[in-house]
Amino acid sequence: MWGEYSRLHSHLLWLGLFADSLGFESLFYQAWKIRESILDEMEATTGGRVIQGVCKVGGVRRDVANSFLSDMDDRLDEIEDEMKDLTNVFLNDYTLTKRLVGKGVLSKEDAYYLGAAGPTARGSGLDLDARSTGYLAYGDIGFKPVVEKGGDGYARCAVRCKELFQSVEIIRRVITDMPEGDVFTPVKGNPDGEYFSRSEQPRGEVIHYLKGNGTKHLAQFRVRTPTLTNIPPLVSILAGCELADVPQIVLTIDPCIGCMER
């Protein structure tokens, strides 16, 4: 549930930034205003707005009360209505479609061979989503990735807009099906062996690799972030486009400078 809220807030942040780069400043503030209500939900359940600090070895640190979950459902209705108005502008406005359709095209083969991840790949028709592997609770709720054909900036924007609604649905299903019980199981012993985990962050697929050697310190730890693998597709997109379109196109892969630096 927290993962999907995180995805909602990240996509809304991106939509705001994208609108700002195209010149629509009040649309930027509208997107962030909706994001504020989502950050309030996260703060009420985890204690932090962006950095949750809620995961721990063996489970999570906090539990959410049942009464709170039912209120959350009503608040999600309001958020969904506001998001419908917002995405209506992004997908149907005349200026936006003129500036995005056909610009920055990434074909399906290029996306596969250059290693695109996340909405960059899903906007070009590739059915790549780490949530399809069924980690955590995604296997129980029947998840299908949002895929758009087209490969241009409009398709990537549409993937993110539709993922907003998909996230709201996933949260609703999780709220109704959430089981009772402990949120934490104590873990004993020292880490030994290696583990490779793939998870789907809003920008793409993140890989964590851990190697323990029997003592309480880890031998090796590596994180591979999606923005790094989205750069080769970006380079191939930028070849041949107009100079005035470059800021939008760079923003459509949702670059995170900290992750790129890894």
Binding site: E43, T45, T46, G47, G48, I51, G53, R61
Partner: protein, 124 residues
């Protein structure tokens, strides 16, 4: 036409900005704001020092001094979870900001007095 609806709505609804310094900020009960230390309950077990991910807490058992560098504290809450004696608490208000020139380490003297247990009577 759709624009007209939005424009009318803007006139009728109240503004979305909150007048922050004049209207106090409302956050939630479990918000991790800032750290509060109670010197009377700390037994200098040094678990908070071991668990702090940014090494903001230092404990000196011999001199009975507990220090906190608020600039380093990231408000993760590990120390609050680990302290068995409830000497650390996370409060709701957000931490106040300060310039690097005002940066200093807060020092507390530990005033814990070990409660005396009644001596066991030797069985005879």
């Amino acid at each position: 036409m759709k624009m007209l609806k939005t424009i009318l709505k803007q006139f009728l609804n109240k503004p979305a900005t909150t007048m922050f310094p004049y209207v106090p900020l409302e956050n939630f009960e479990g918000t991790r704001g800032h750290l509060v230390f109670d010197p009377a309950k700390c037994t200098s077990c040094m678990m908070c020092m071991k668990r702090c991910p940014s090494q903001a807490i230092t404990v000196q058992r011999a001199e009975k001094i507990w220090t906190l560098d608020r600039f380093r504290c990231v408000m993760c809450g590990n120390c609050v979870d680990v302290c068995k004696f409830d000497a650390l608490l996370m409060e709701r208000e957000y931490a106040k900001s300060a310039t690097p020139a005002q940066r200093s380490v807060e020092t507390y003297e530990i005033t814990y007095v070990k409660p005396e247990r009644p001596k066991k009577e030797t069985a005879e």
